[in-house]
């Protein structure tokens, strides 16, 4: 659906992105992850045919980004980080305007507008002035604007910016429902939201692709994933001895486990970290429970995305390499 080859963009002398190459298939929900200033917004704007790259090629739906920008624009919906809303219009009038602007046939406008209002839960505020809406509703109106002409591609720049936790979940559910039927690209620096919403992640750091793949493949690449498991056990070791060591021994015997080490032990509980060649959580749990040791907690290494992220986007040498967005 989208093919990007060697995309580079300079703003004056400053290089914002360099040599980006990736593909995105129809129906995927892809998250662009990166620090502020990494180049996510620039990349998304180029994909939305709002700015031209300094060099490199972009193809959307087989159409060349430079030659057929107009055509591509009618097939995509873009939500910038500040939703492009006209404060003096009502939500319904605004969506009608956008629908007509994007070329929706006159007879379809009313239907498309009410569909967009439904999808984004805006029916209560449909006849309210946009200037009077709260931030959460403004974001939703912005999303509605991106959807109203039923584009096949949606590009959302920080769709959950400034929303409260409840609104973030709502937005996330909305976006997930849109995937499949639409191809969705979104950018964020909110790690948990992105890992819950997206099928695939593209990590951008300092204008380059630092990682590209599913969360699992990226975290495995960085030495994490379901292969690394944290376990808390309690009780008495069967057959005497220290609880931690006994448990580690037991776990080490489970096929597929590479290492099992005790991280700490106190008050009748022990914490262990186990590394396996793949996801062995079920077998490990079975082994512990069957031996009579109490299993309190077993989960894959927490916050991997954060630590991978931190590893991948470690700042370059010197403060001058961190540029403002």
């Amino acid at each position: 659906m989208i093919e990007v080859e060697d995309l580079t963009k300079y703003y004056g002398g400053k290089r914002a992105i360099s040599g980006l190459t990736f593909r995105i298939e129809k129906g995927e929900i892809v998250g662009f992850l990166g620090l502020n200033g990494a180049g996510k917004t620039t990349t998304l704007r180029i994909l939305a045919c709002l700015i031209l790259p300094s060099s490199g090629r972009l193809r959307v739906d087989g159409l060349d980004g430079a030659a057929h920008a107009h055509e591509i624009r009618s097939r995509l919906g873009f939500l910038p980080d500040t939703p492009p809303l006209y404060d003096e219009m009502t939500v319904r009038d605004y969506l009608r305007f956008v629908a007509e602007l994007k070329g929706v046939a006159a007879k379809d406008v009313t239907r498309r507008v009410s569909e967009a209002l439904d999808t984004c839960n805006l029916n209560q505020t449909a006849d309210q002035l946009i200037g009077t809406l709260s931030h959460g509703y403004r974001q939703r109106a912005g999303l509605a604007q991106a959807l109203v002409h039923k584009p096949s591609l949606l590009i959302l720049d920080e769709p959950t910016g400034g929303l409260d936790p409840v609104q973030i979940v709502e937005m996330r559910e909305l976006i997930k429902r849109l995937g499949g039927e639409h191809t969705v690209l979104l950018s964020s620096h909110n790690l948990s939201e992105i890992s819950h919403t997206c099928d695939r992640l593209l990590v951008i750091n300092e204008g380059r692709v630092a990682a590209d793949g599913t969360e699992e493949s990226i975290s495995q690449g960085a030495g994490g994933g379901a292969r690394v498991v944290e376990i808390t056990v309690e009780g008495a070791a069967p057959g005497g001895g220290a609880l931690g060591e006994r448990a580690a021994q037991l776990i080490g015997k489970v096929p597929g486990v590479l290492t099992a080490r005790v991280k700490s032990s106190a008050d009748g509980r022990a914490e262990l970290e186990v590394e396996a060649s793949d996801d062995r959580r079920a077998a490990i749990a079975k082994a512990i429970v069957e031996s009579g040791i109490g299993l309190v907690r077993l989960e894959r290494k927490a916050l991997e995305l954060e630590s991978i992220f931190q590893r991948l986007v470690a700042p370059g040498p010197g403060p001058s390499s961190r540029r403002a967005a």
């Binding site: 703003y11 709002l50 910038p80 006209y86 219009m89």
Partner: protein, 243 residues
Amino acid sequence: MKSIALIIRREIGAYLRSPLGYVVIAVLLLIDGLLFNARAMGSDTKRLSAEVLANFFEYSSGISVTAALFLSMRLLAEERQTGTLTLLFGSPVRDYQIVLGKFIASLLFLALMLLLTAYMPMLIMVHGKITRGQIIAGYLGLLLIGAMALSIGLFASALTKSQLIAILGGAGITVCLVVCWMLSTVTDRPFSEIFAWLAMWSKHFPPFMRGTINSQDVVYYLSMTYFFLFSTTRVLESRRWSS
């Protein structure tokens, strides 16, 4: 064509729904009325009604230009500021359609204001003798000079995010063009003729206010308006691809 009509509708809606349009019209109508009362109607010497009408058009031309600059300063600067220009740029709408749509909408709103000044010539008609021709010519002149000022303001609005700078820029360009006549008095041919032609008011407006429609004056206002609209389109184009 549909896109232009769409943009015109939205822009007029914006003028009608925000205080700026009404405040501009109200204030300028007030000033126009006061000037009319003080100078055109209220002088002691006996004067021909045609002269009074010409005076009315003279003052109103300044009002028309001022109104045009205030009305046009927000057209593009505000959209840049609020981020809505991204919406227009991301749609299958061409730059010239955006520019034309906004220009025509502001011209219609300006025409509304000019319509509201009609009470003043009607006051003259009560006891005086004036021709319909002079009234039509005068209003045509007001519309043409207003259109030119709108295109200047629109151009300035395209250059900046700040509405304040837009109006200062627009006013600056307008003043330069008006002051060209001074330059024409201190230079030799051919420059004096060039500056005289370029001058926004001195050579080209008085015929309208006295009731004469000269094609060369109409051409002047239309071509200058076109020039600024064209430049605005080019500026938009360059902004689109750079940031």
